[in-house]
């Protein structure tokens, strides 16, 4: 099911990622840091933060699709929630991988049980459990109902998890985009926004593809069932 839109999207994505690499690694001036490895590690920021944002967006979509499913009972909402959960887990996995790569040269350790780190890990665990649940259930309306319920409970829990861990002292860098104290220099901001837009496009593309695949799976299963009946 390779449509023209897909081809165009893919081409744009390829170009955008190349441009993003150029912006991040060549165009933006190096930060002032005590050593080279710290300077290089800082580049991870451009991929780490967009991954985190898209992870949240993906889980928000899971929540919306779960509510929509319980309300309208249409298969498509179930498929959207699954596709988005899978991609969200993928992005948060990227966050959990890029974070330690940055932390090792800067903090000197791969991992610390810091507030932000711990809550991201818990977030990841919640949605991995969501996907595991679906794996252990036979296909059908029961599965759709149960996973929608978990999709809603899980998302409501996310802010509570963040809140509950907030009193821990955090080493994690402050949110540079939203706070008043540290703000990004103009070139950094441009490179960041460009990468964020590219990642968002990647999310849309992956969603579209995964959704199509799930629909195809449905069709194949349906045909198998019909053949068995004959």
């Amino acid at each position: 099911m390779r449509s023209r839109i897909d081809k165009i999207l893919l081409t744009i994505l390829l170009i955008a990622f190349l441009v993003s690499l150029y912006l991040v690694f060549l165009w933006v001036p190096q930060i002032k840091a005590s050593n080279v490895s710290e300077q290089i590690a800082q580049k991870i920021f451009y991929y780490h933060v967009p991954s985190a944002w898209l992870g949240f967006l993906a889980f928000f979509i899971v929540f919306v699709a779960s509510v929509a499913y319980l309300w309208k009972r249409e298969r498509k909402y179930e498929l959207i929630s699954v596709a988005s959960a899978e991609i969200g887990v993928l992005f948060i996995t990227l966050v959990l991988i890029t974070g330690p790569i940055w932390a090792k040269p800067v903090w000197g350790i791969w991992w610390t049980w810091d507030a932000r780190l711990t809550s991201s890990l818990i977030l990841w665990l919640i949605y991995v459990a969501f996907l595991m649940l679906r794996r252990y259930l036979p296909d059908g309306s029961k599965r759709a109902n149960l996973s929608a319920v978990v999709g809603i409970l899980g998302f409501v829990d996310v802010p509570i998890v963040y809140y509950s861990i907030r009193w821990w002292e955090t080493q994690h860098p402050k949110a540079v985009m939203a706070s008043s104290e540290g703000s990004l220099a103009a070139p950094m901001f441009i490179a960041f926004m460009f990468t964020l837009a590219t990642f968002t496009l990647l999310y849309i593309f992956l969603m579209k593809k995964r959704y199509q695949l799930l629909v195809l799976e449905d069709q194949v299963n349906k045909q198998f069932k019909e053949m068995e009946l004959l």
């Binding site: 319980l70 818990i122 977030l123 665990l125 919640i126 991995v128 459990a129 969501f130 595991m132 649940l133 252990y136 259930l137 309306s141 029961k142 109902n145 149960l146 929608a148 319920v149 978990v150 809603i152 409970l153 899980g154 409501v156 829990d157 509570i160 998890v161 809140y163 509950s164 861990i165």
Partner: protein, 222 residues
């Protein structure tokens, strides 16, 4: 409310006859204390510091038994289907199950607490009375989420492991807060910051109880 109370009565009657859950939970908690003792050989001072966490680990690991058991017994004889067919709101069934799980867990907690006090040589004081609202709030948070997730996981092949996978990360805020509050009571002085934290736990309880109550209908449906 009558349906909920009927379920509560039935579950408690079953429990008092067999003592299956409470006994298993109690022995398992004892085991946790023993295992912790020889896996972490630490001084008494450190022991006191980790004691609140240990207490909640015991509560929650054992609580998993109760939760698993609660819906497993319904599934065995196809009761789950009959429950779904009952001409009452799904929320009623949730409340009934929630009440029975919570009361069984509270009874177990009352029975294990003296052992905890003896093993860790805690000094009893009036301040200890504040543990009652803390344990009550923490337990209700755990069971309000646990009851609905137990009803979810009972439909799967790997019921027990899946309940843990679903419940642990979701209930982590409650565990963090409860351990924190228990630590203040056991090792320190209750200060002004104690009560807002307790209210937070209660707020969590209310949010998840209400949500689970509303969503329970969808779980029973076929």
């Amino acid at each position: 409310m009558r349906a909920a109370l009927a379920i509560l009565k039935k579950d408690l009657q079953m429990e008092f006859r067999s003592k299956e859950s409470i006994l298993a939970m109690w022995i398992f908690s004892l085991l946790i204390f023993v295992i912790f003792n020889f896996t972490f050989e630490v001084s008494r001072l450190v022991m006191l510091e980790i004691a609140p966490g240990l207490l909640w680990v015991a509560f929650i690991f054992s609580g998993m038994f109760g939760l698993n058991h609660s819906f497993a017994i319904e599934k065995e004889n196809g009761n789950l289907r009959s429950m779904a067919l009952m001409p009452v709101d799904g929320g009623q069934i949730y409340i009934g199950k929630f009440l029975s799980v919570t009361s069984i867990m509270l009874m177990f907690e009352i029975l294990i607490f003296p052992i905890f006090v003896i093993f860790y040589d805690l000094q009893l004081s009036l301040q200890m009375l504040m543990l009652i609202p803390v344990i009550l709030a923490g337990t209700i948070g755990f069971t309000s989420l646990g009851t609905i997730l137990s009803a979810v996981s009972v439909h799967t092949r790997n019921q027990q492991i899946l309940l843990s996978l679903l419940l642990w990360p979701l209930v982590s805020p409650i565990v963090i807060w409860s351990v924190n509050l228990t630590g203040v009571i056991i090792n320190g002085e209750i200060t002004a910051s104690f009560y807002p934290l307790l209210i937070r736990v209660v707020a969590f309880d209310v949010i998840f109880f209400t949500l689970a109550y509303m969503l329970f209908d969808f779980i029973l449906e076929d």
